[in-house]
Amino acid sequence: MTPNNPSELLYVFGSFTILLLVAGFYCLVVTRSFLRAVIAIELLIKAVTLFFIAVGYITGKPALTQALVITVIVVEVVVVVIAGGIAISVFRKNDSLDITLLNKLKG
């Protein structure tokens, strides 16, 4: 890829980031499945990753953004693994992954 027009590049990547964010937020608001909510969070993280990398490329600091993205990926994995464990626990308690049933929990 050639960095021809930085404003154009940022506009295009920013636009697709916004589309991914909209899809993720919509899914997070509308869904009732625990695992699909986790998928929505994943999409939000992917949007942020894309924007970080695009900004690093445009500003000429790919090393700094790569380091941040690697941290984000580690956080992403931990979030998914813990959410998976919680999903299995919720399923064993409620026999369903419906997030509306989480009201039954203590606390």
Partner: protein, 165 residues
């Protein structure tokens, strides 16, 4: 900006929408893996090969495996249940393509805003230098997070084991 980048970005958005709207959770997981794979190609093309390798191996590989394992540990729905649930879900998700279309239209209509790029400052060295010399606190944070994740899984599975007794 090449045409291939636009094609990749559009394909990634479509895969993301498919993963959100897909009928079964397994298909949604596959959609997420496809999104990750396309994102890793984009990251590589944007001059960040190390982050691309992490994205491909961890997000496309490991996270998909974790999702599939979680789905397999929960009770699968019958085909009839899936069709029944998808009818209800389709009613909730039908507005997503419309909203995305409206947002895309608004973004195209707005055009490229002026003064989008701010001053960039100094250029830093390579990624290993940044990770080990400039962002040491991030590395400690990552180590703590991984330990917390491992402990969390141990506690959750132990709890599940107690319940089984």
């Amino acid at each position: 900006m090449n045409t291939i980048d636009i094609v990749l970005l559009v394909a990634m958005t479509l895969a993301a929408v498919w993963s959100v709207m897909g009928r079964s959770l397994l298909k949604a997981t596959i959609g997420l893996a496809v999104t990750s794979a396309i994102l890793s190609i984009l990251i590589f093309r944007l001059g960040s090969p190390l982050a691309a390798v992490f994205e491909l191996s961890v997000c496309t590989g490991l996270i998909t495996v974790v999702f599939v394992s979680t789905i397999s540990l929960t009770k699968p729905l019958t085909h009839k249940d899936i069709i029944e649930m998808s009818k209800k879900r389709n009613r909730r998700f039908i507005y997503l393509p419309i909203i995305l279309g409206l947002v895309a239209f608004a973004l195209i209509r707005a055009g490229i805003p002026k003064g989008l790029i701010m001053s960039t400052g100094e250029t830093v060295g390579n990624v290993t230098e940044v990770l080990w010399n400039m962002r040491q606190l991030d590395m400690f944070g990552q180590v703590i997070l991984i330990i917390a994740g491992a402990l969390g899984v141990v506690v959750l599975f132990a709890e599940a084991k107690d319940d089984a007794k």
